[in-house]
């Protein structure tokens, strides 16, 4: 059992993560007639891309925090009707595919300003608001309000209380959330390639451009390595912040802390924060639906009806893309659950290693585009000429989903009281029976939640899939991207229609997750 729990995830990671990574390193550093890695680094374009990547990530993070902080406060401090619904809805943008988010903002913005840095920042913020609200809001709800009350009796006004008491207490959560958002926006891909136009590219987008459009594999590999170094740095900072977050104790049960708003000021704050959130999250999605229904001057289902017919944008009908997406996502979910679930058992079990834990988190940081690119250059010759195999798509998607599965399942497993296992043994349950009677029932809910997340992530996966999906077997996000690359009103409308369908399927799978009722585990 132990051997399997260790062996399967390690073998999977070795073949499908470390090997492609090695291929990228080899391609990037190999010196031959075409020049060396240093040439790519010295290119002013590289510096420009790196600079844009960093500053858009910083600015996006700041914007995200600015929008999310008031909402975190009201969700963390006040009870009001529908609070749990709002908490659940806030997560929706985070699980939406980046392609859908990008399209929503494309639909929202007037034609002449739709491509540029501003929409990238706003779309990034839209995508990541959930991270800050969940991490900071949950932490805020856990802070003992009596500390603030004590400060008040010592003569501190509201401003002084926030500055001298709340903010320092909140700092670790805020820092951890910002670090995660920075990481996500640093590797932002779908949003940048769709909203950025040709002028604005992050490292991630430039890797894609070099590999697919310019076909300069060396440049793509070198840029991947630059990205890897930056991400490793950011991950290291994030993990340190998370450790500090974990030790900042004194967390109290939420019900002791939240209370209804009392003063008019508090009610206004509540209404204002939630209203802003509703507009910020709801408007782009509403406009997306509106655009998918607009045909010519009026409204209709024309774009949806056309989905069953062949199109010049794809080698398959859009309808087939939907089916492909569902099949791939289901397969990816199965792989992610088996590998991620076993890994969670291995990490939590006796002698569980932090090494495996860290190794499993790597794909999260290595970024999807790098994975896709790595697959393309690693699995390109006999006997591992796999890049055109249909099954390679769900494998790549599973790789992206596995860190999430582990993060959801492992804490639940860890929370199983060892004495419950001992109690079961003393009542006559042999080891296998203990696993079935104690561990599995407790973990099954977490597995259901993990399955929902894995399905949603695989469904929307774009960065790796865009490299690997065969032209005759496109997925939804890839199909949307192809439609956008074509002129014409019907192509645009079909892209919007597919985005609406993708959003609906994702929302449905997340709804099922909420039904499985998760015990809140961190920010997911």
């Amino acid at each position: 059992m132990h051997l399997v729990a260790y062996g399967v995830p390690l073998a999977f990671l070795a073949v499908f993560f470390l090997f492609p990574l090695g291929a990228i390193v080899e391609r990037g550093l190999r010196g031959d007639g075409e020049g060396s890695a240093l040439d790519v680094l010295a290119d002013p374009l590289t510096r420009e891309v790196l600079w844009f990547t960093v500053w858009q990530a910083v600015a996006s993070t700041a914007l995200t925090v600015a929008v999310a902080l008031p909402a975190s406060y009201v969700l963390g401090r006040f009870s009001f009707p529908g609070r749990s619904v709002v908490r659940a809805l806030v997560v929706v943008p985070f699980v939406l595919p980046t392609v859908v988010v990008a399209l929503a903002f494309l639909a929202l913005l007037p034609d002449e300003v739709e491509r540029g840095w501003a929409p990238i920042l706003v779309a990034n913020a839209f995508f990541n608001v959930a991270v800050v609200v969940r991490v900071v809001g949950t932490f805020w709800a856990g802070l003992d309000p009596r500390v603030g009350e004590a400060a008040a009796t010592l003569g501190a006004g509201p401003g002084a209380r926030f500055r001298d008491v709340t903010l320092p207490l909140l700092a670790p959560a805020l820092a951890a959330a910002s670090a995660i958002v920075f990481l996500f926006t640093f590797t932002s891909f779908g949003i940048v390639v769709i909203l950025g136009g040709p002028r604005y590219a992050t490292l991630e987008a430039e890797i894609y451009n070099q590999a697919v459009r310019a076909f300069d594999l060396r440049a793509a590999a070198v840029l991947s390595l630059v990205q890897l170094v930056c991400v490793a740095l950011a991950v290291w900072v994030t993990m340190r912040l998370e450790t500090r977050l974990a030790v900042a104790g004194g967390v109290r049960p939420e019900r002791d802390v939240v209370r209804p708003p009392r003063t008019t000021g508090e009610r206004l704050l509540l209404a204002g924060s939630l209203g802003t959130l509703a507009v910020f999250v709801g408007l782009p999605l509403a406009v997306l639906v509106e655009r998918s229904l607009s045909v010519g001057e009026g409204y209709g289902l024309g774009a949806y009806r056309a989905l069953g017919s062949p199109t010049s944008a794809l080698l398959a009908t859009p309808w087939e893309a939907i089916v492909n997406s569902l099949v791939f996502a289901a397969a990816a979910t199965a792989i992610a659950l088996v590998v991620g679930g076993l890994a969670a058992f291995a990490i939590v079990g006796r002698g569980g290693s932090r090494l495996l834990d860290g190794l499993l988190m790597l794909p999260l940081g290595a970024s999807a585009v790098m994975l896709g690119f790595g697959f393309v250059i690693a699995f390109d010759r006999w006997p591992i000429d796999w890049r055109a195999e249909p099954w390679i798509v769900p494998v790549a998607q599973a790789l992206v989903a596995i860190p999430f599965v582990v993060r959801i399942v492992a804490p639940t497993l860890r929370a199983v009281d060892e004495r419950q296992r001992e109690a079961a043994a003393l009542l006559g349950a042999p080891p296998g029976r203990v696993l079935r009677e104690i561990d599995l029932p407790i973990v099954s809910r977490a597995l259901a939640v993990a399955a929902g997340f894995a399905f949603a992530i695989s469904l929307g996966e774009f960065g790796a899939t865009v490299f690997l999906a065969r032209p005759d077997l496109p997925t939804l996000p890839v199909a949307i991207f192809r439609f956008l690359g074509r002129p014409g009103e019907l192509n645009a409308a079909q892209a919007y229609a597919l985005a609406v369908i993708l959003m609906a399927v994702t929302a449905l799978s997340m709804l099922l997750v909420e039904r499985a009722r998760l015990r809140r585990t961190g920010w997911v």
Binding site: Q420, A423, A424, A425, L426, L427, G428, E437, I438
Partner: protein
């Protein structure tokens, strides 16, 4: 020979000897309580008997059979955990029926027996309740019913009343004593509370720093504590210089005038039917005594002190 026998059991954890050459027997239908301060190795002793903690030396016999190599689930030893360790994901009946299912009882028969046990511990009608909704005392009763259900040869209890408030504890203590007697249980009961140990144990084993330092009936222990530490831990007063002066052997009455008397009352506290008096003797020592009188000397009053030589106990050198 029947019953449980621990022979020279030794457990070392992280370089420390947590259980040091412990030998202890529990006869059939006997209740032995293990009394000791926290960290004295009580819990480790129970875990070793249950098979949850391997022994570094010594052996454990059940009805004459060596349990070495027998895994916990085949030992037929029940354990009531400190803080209960109930199965959170099962309801009350699901908890109690667990051990019966494991030994292969038919579902209907197992449920029937589980209901009987819930009735026995006073929780009839609680079958479908979630364990989260129970009070501490109710959880304790479920844990007891769960451990008793598969009819273990020996029941181990690890501070089962430790987390409960005092009044509830006193009530459950009586219930437990009655249950032990009615079911003729063979039980080993661990506690740091002298009153619990004396109330429940046919015999009491006093543990200190991983060793069993004295075993005897409550009366034997009270009459002959083995050393000063044990005497103090049992709650005997006036322990010093290798001797104990029993409070009940100290007679006190108001001095007729200031020139008489050997000391001054420093404190007088009523404790239910008795009054505890602390007398500061003229030579500086403090002597504790009890009286049942309603008209007793108050603090500050000078008193004459008389000690019955029968009430002075010489202890073995420590």
């Amino acid at each position: 020979m029947s019953g449980l026998r621990v022979e020279s059991a030794t457990v070392r954890l992280g370089g420390r000897t947590v259980l040091d050459d412990v030998t202890l027997g529990v006869a059939d239908a006997e209740v032995v309580t293990v009394l000791g301060p926290s960290g004295s190795g009580k819990t480790t002793l129970l875990r070793a008997i249950a098979g949850l903690q391997p022994l570094d030396a010594g052996r454990i016999l059940l009805d004459g059979r060596d349990l070495a190599g027998v895994p916990p689930h085949r030992r037929e030893i029940g354990l009531v955990f400190q803080d209960h360790a109930l199965f959170d994901h099962k309801d009350v009946l699901g908890n109690v029926v667990f051990g019966l299912r494991m030994r292969g009882d038919a579902p209907a028969r197992a449920r029937e027996r589980a209901r009987e046990l819930l009735e026995l511990v006073g929780l009839a009608g609680y079958e479908r309740r979630s364990v989260h909704t129970l009070s501490g005392g109710e959880q304790q009763r479920v844990a007891l019913a769960r451990a008793l259900a598969p009819e273990p040869a020996v029941l181990l209890l690890d501070e089962p009343l430790g987390s409960l408030d005092r009044r509830l504890r006193d009530r459950l203590l009586e219930d437990l004593a009655r249950l032990f007697a009615d079911l003729r249980l063979t039980a080993l009961y661990v506690t740091h509370d002298r009153a619990e140990a004396f109330a429940l144990g046919d015999r009491v084993a006093v543990m200190r720093a991983g060793r069993v330092v004295q075993v005897g009936t409550p009366d034997e222990l009270w009459a002959r504590p083995v050393d000063e530490d044990v005497a103090r831990f049992l709650g005997l007063a006036n322990v010093s210089d290798g001797r104990v002066v029993r409070p009940e052997a100290v007679g006190v009455r108001r001095a007729r005038d200031e020139s008489r008397g050997q000391g001054v009352v420093e404190r007088a506290e009523r404790q239910g039917p008795t009054v505890r008096l602390l007398v500061r003797l003229d030579d500086g020592d403090v002597l504790e005594t009890v009286t049942t009188a309603l008209d007793h000397p108050e603090s500050g009053e000078r008193v004459e002190v008389e000690i019955d030589p029968e009430g002075i106990l010489r202890l073995r050198e420590p």
